[in-house]
C-alpha cells in the first residue's frame, strides 16, 4: 500500500512539474553525452598540443604547435587528407546515384509485398559483420577471384583492381549504400501523389516532373543519406587496411598507426582534428539544404 502511494505521488509530481519530469528523463543520456562524448573530444583537443618522449613513450603535457607544424610541413599528410575527402565524396555521389532507382522502385512502383522484399534486401547485409563483407570483396577482387573468373569466362581481359583505390571505392560504395537508400526512400514516400498528378495535369512530362518536383523534394533525403555515407567513409580505416594497396592510407590509418602502433598519441590527436572540422563544415551545409528535417 505504501509503495503505491509513493509511486502515485511521484507520478503526481511529474504531472504537475513537467520540467522536472523531462529533466529526469533526459538526465542520464545528458550525463552520458557530456562525460563520454564531449570530454573525449575535449581530451583529444588538449592532447593535440602535447608531445611524446620517443624512447620511453611517456606523454609530455604542455602547449606546442609542433604536431600541427609537422602535419603542415610534410606534404604526405596533405595528400592523405585530400585522398580521404576525395574518396568520401566520390563514394557519396556514387551511392546517391545508385540509391535513386532502387528507392524509387521501392516506393513508387512496388506493391506492398514486393516492397517488403526490397526493404529486406536493403537491410539484410547490415545484419552480417562488416568485416565478413569486406573480406568477401577482397576475395572477389583478388587476382584469381570471382571478378576475373567471370571476365575470363566472358572472354574479357583480367582487371587488376584488387588492393587499390578502385577496390576501396567499390567496397565503400557497397557498404554504405543502405544508408543512402533508406533516407531517399523516406523522402520519396513523403511526396504527396497529388503533386505528381498536378504536375501531369499542367502538362509536364515524366522527366520534367522528376526534375522540377520529385528531385527538389527528395533532395533533403539525399543530403541526409550523404551525411552517413560521407562521414562513415571519412572515418574508416579498416577498409583501406584490408582492400587498399599502395597509396591507400586514410586519415584514420595514420591515426591508427600513431595510436595503436607507434604510440604517438598527440600527433594522432592533432591529425584527428581535421575530420572534425571537415564534418562540421559538411553538417552546416547539410542543415542549409534541409537534411535535418528529412531525418
Amino acid at each position: 500500500m505504501t509503495k503505491r502511494t509513493w509511486r502515485g505521488s511521484l507520478f503526481a509530481f511529474g504531472w504537475r512539474h513537467e520540467g522536472a519530469a523531462n529533466a529526469a528523463l533526459l538526465g542520464l543520456p545528458a550525463i552520458w553525452f557530456l562525460t563520454l562524448y564531449l570530454a573525449a573530444i575535449g581530451a583529444l583537443l588538449i592532447t593535440a598540443f602535447w608531445q611524446v618522449d620517443d624512447m620511453s613513450g611517456d606523454l609530455i603535457p604542455g602547449f606546442s604547435f609542433s604536431n600541427f607544424a609537422e602535419l603542415l610541413s610534410d606534404p604526405i599528410y596533405r595528400t592523405i587528407a585530400i585522398r580521404t575527402i576525395f574518396i568520401a565524396s566520390v563514394v557519396t555521389l556514387t551511392d546517391a546515384v545508385l540509391a535513386w532507382p532502387f528507392a524509387y522502385a521501392m516506393v513508387r512502383l512496388s506493391g506492398p509485398r514486393l516492397r517488403a522484399v526490397l526493404m529486406a534486401l536493403v537491410l539484410v547485409p547490415l545484419w552480417s559483420s562488416y568485416l565478413a563483407r569486406v573480406y568477401a570483396w577482397r576475395l572477389i577482387l583478388a587476382h584469381d577471384g570471382v571478378l576475373n573468373w567471370t571476365l575470363s569466362a566472358a572472354g574479357l581481359p583480367d582487371l587488376h583492381i584488387g588492393y587499390s583505390n578502385w577496390a576501396m571505392w567499390i567496397v565503400f560504395s557497397y557498404l554504405w549504400l543502405p544508408f543512402m537508400i533508406l533516407p531517399v526512400a523516406a523522402a520519396l514516400e513523403r511526396i504527396p501523389p497529388s503533386l505528381l498528378e498536378a504536375s501531369a495535369d499542367l502538362g509536364e512530362r515524366g522527366m520534367a516532373t522528376f526534375r522540377r518536383v520529385i528531385l527538389p523534394m527528395a533532395l533533403p533525403g539525399m543530403v541526409a543519406g550523404a551525411i552517413f555515407t560521407f562521414s562513415l567513409t571519412l572515418g574508416d580505416f579498416v577498409t583501406p587496411m584490408l582492400v587498399g594497396g599502395v597509396g591507400s592510407d586514410f586519415i584514420g590509418n595514420v591515426v591508427y598507426a600513431n595510436v595503436g602502433v607507434t604510440n604517438n598519441i598527440p600527433f594522432a590527436a592533432a591529425y584527428a582534428t581535421l575530420p572534425l572540422g571537415v564534418m562540421a563544415v559538411f553538417l552546416l551545409l547539410a542543415r542549409k539544404l534541409g537534411a535535418f528535417d528529412a531525418l
Binding site: 562525460t35 563520454l36 570530454a39 573525449a40 575535449g42 581530451a43 583529444l44 588538449i46 592532447t47 620517443d54 624512447m55 620511453s56 613513450g57 611517456d58 606523454l59 609537422e70 610534410d74 604526405i76 595528400t79 592523405i80 583478388a142 587476382h143 584469381d144 577471384g145 587488376h160 584488387g162 588492393y163 587496411m241 587498399g244 594497396g245 599502395v246 597509396g247 591507400s248 592510407d249 595514420v254 598507426a257 595510436v259 595503436g260 602502433v261 607507434t262 604510440n263 604517438n264 598519441i265 590527436a269
Partner: protein, 382 residues
C-alpha cells in the same frame, strides 16, 4: 576530497584520451625472489605462431595458468600493447630487439631474477646477456629464439632461388611484390644499399644519417610502385601468395612453412647481401597481474622441448643449445636445417633488429631516430 576528485577527473581525461604508461620514475623495481603459486591466468602478447596449442596446452595442464594470447604484427604494436591501459593488461611479451630497449626505458617491463630461470645457463653465450635485453648488468628479459628475415618467392616464377634482394626492387615484378608494413623495413633497403652502393658508407643498417636515409627512401619509393600490398599480419602475406597476387617479397620463415604446408609453390632464401633478422626476448610487464604464471611460462618455453617445437614450427633458431637433440628427435635433420647448432659466425652475419637512435655507433650524433624512420616510412608508402 577535492584533490581526490581532481585526480579522478585527470585520470578520466587521460584514460579517455591516451593509454598512458604511468611514469613510475627511474627507481629500480625489485625482481621476484621466488616463484610462488600460479595465479590461474596468463595474458600474453606474442608474434603469430608463438603461442601454439602444442606447447600452450601442456603448460596450462601443468601449471593451471590459462593462457590468453594477443598477436601483434609489428614491434611497434607490441610496445603499444604493453603500454595500453596503464600497462597492467598483459603479463609477458615476446619482444624483438627493436622493441626491448623502448620497453626497458619506458619502465614497461620489470627486472628478471635470472636465478629463477634454470635453463638460462644453457643458452648460447651471445644470448645470455645481450645488450638489447640486459642493461647495466640487470636482466629485463630472457632470450627466446632468433632468425633471419628471408626472401620468399614463388617457385613457378623463380625456378631457381634469386641470389640478390634486387628482385624486390625490380620493375619486372611490378604489382607482384609484398613487404612488411613496418618502418624497420627501411633497414632491409639500407642493408641492400650498403652492399650495392658502398659509396654511401652505410656500415650499420640501423644507423643512418640524413644523406643515407635519402638514398634509402629513394630506393623504397621506387619499390612502392611495384608493391601489391604492404602486409600488416603474416596471414596477409600468406593470402597474397596463395592467391597469386604476390610472387616475391620479404617474409619470415613462418610464412614459408605455412604456405608449403598448404602446397603453395613457394620457397625462401637468404640472398648474397645477407639479411636483417630478429632475436626475441620474453619480458614481464612492470605491472604484470600474474607474475608467478609469467615466470612459469618463461621456464616452460625455455625448456629444450618447447624450444625445439617453437623452432620447427616457426622456422627459427632456439637460444637453448640443448634444443638441438630435441629438434632432431622431432624431425630428423631439423637441428641443422634451422641452425640449432649455429656457429658464432652465422649469428654475427645477421643484422638483428634494433631501435634506431640519434647516437650512431661511431660516436657521431647525426643518425636519425625511430620517429624519423616512422615519418620516412609514411612518406614511402603514401
Amino acid at each position: 576530497m577535492t584533490a581526490g576528485l581532481k585526480q579522478c577527473f585527470a585520470r578520466i581525461v587521460l584514460g579517455l584520451s591516451v593509454s598512458l604508461p604511468l611514469a613510475q620514475g627511474a627507481e629500480a623495481m625489485q625482481a621476484l625472489n621466488a616463484i610462488g603459486k600460479g595465479e590461474g591466468t596468463l595474458n600474453v602478447v606474442a608474434w603469430e605462431g608463438y603461442a601454439q596449442d602444442d606447447w600452450v596446452k601442456p603448460f596450462e595442464a601443468a601449471t593451471g595458468c590459462a593462457v590468453h594470447a594477443k598477436y601483434a604484427g609489428s614491434s611497434d604494436e607490441m610496445v603499444a600493447l604493453m603500454r595500453s591501459g596503464g600497462g597492467d593488461q598483459y603479463d609477458v611479451v615476446s619482444a624483438s630487439g627493436d622493441a626491448t630497449l623502448r620497453l626497458i626505458y619506458g619502465h614497461n617491463v620489470q627486472p628478471i631474477n635470472i636465478a629463477l630461470i634454470p635453463q638460462w645457463k644453457n643458452f648460447i653465450p651471445q644470448l645470455q646477456a645481450p645488450d638489447f635485453n640486459t642493461v647495466k648488468g640487470v636482466h629485463y628479459g630472457v632470450s627466446y629464439e632468433w632468425g633471419p628475415n628471408t626472401l620468399l618467392y614463388n617457385t613457378k616464377t623463380f625456378p631457381s632461388a634469386p641470389t640478390s634482394w634486387s628482385v624486390i626492387y625490380d620493375p619486372k615484378y611490378a604489382g607482384q611484390v609484398t613487404v612488411p608494413d613496418n618502418p624497420i623495413q627501411i633497414a632491409d633497403a639500407a642493408l641492400y644499399l650498403s652492399k650495392t652502393q658502398p659509396a654511401l658508407g652505410i656500415t650499420d643498417p640501423y644507423e643512418l644519417n640524413q644523406t643515407q636515409m635519402n638514398a634509402v627512401v629513394a630506393l623504397l619509393q621506387g619499390q612502392a610502385k611495384l608493391i601489391k600490398k604492404y602486409w600488416a599480419l603474416a596471414s596477409d602475406e600468406i593470402q597474397l601468395f596463395t592467391s597469386g597476387d604476390a610472387v616475391v617479397g620479404a617474409a619470415w620463415p613462418y610464412q614459408t612453412n605455412t604456405l608449403q604446408a598448404a602446397k603453395v609453390p613457394v620457397a625462401d632464401t637468404i640472398p648474397a647481401e645477407g639479411a636483417t633478422g630478429w632475436a626475441d626476448t620474453w619480458m614481464i610487464s612492470a605491472k604484470a597481474p600474474h607474475p608467478n604464471c609469467a615466470y612459469a611460462w618463461i621456464n616452460w618455453v625455455t625448456t629444450p622441448k618447447v624450444q625445439a617445437e617453437q623452432a620447427i614450427y616457426f622456422g627459427e633458431t632456439p637460444a637453448n643449445t640443448l634444443a638441438c637433440k630435441e629438434m632432431d628427435a622431432e624431425q630428423p635433420g631439423a637441428c641443422a636445417q634451422y641452425h640449432g647448432d649455429a656457429s658464432a659466425a652465422y649469428f654475427n652475419q645477421i643484422k638483428f633488429w634494433k631501435t634506431p637512435r640519434t647516437q650512431c655507433g661511431n660516436g657521431k650524433d647525426d643518425c636519425l631516430d625511430y620517429a624519423a624512420w616512422q615519418r620516412a616510412w609514411q612518406t614511402i608508402k603514401g
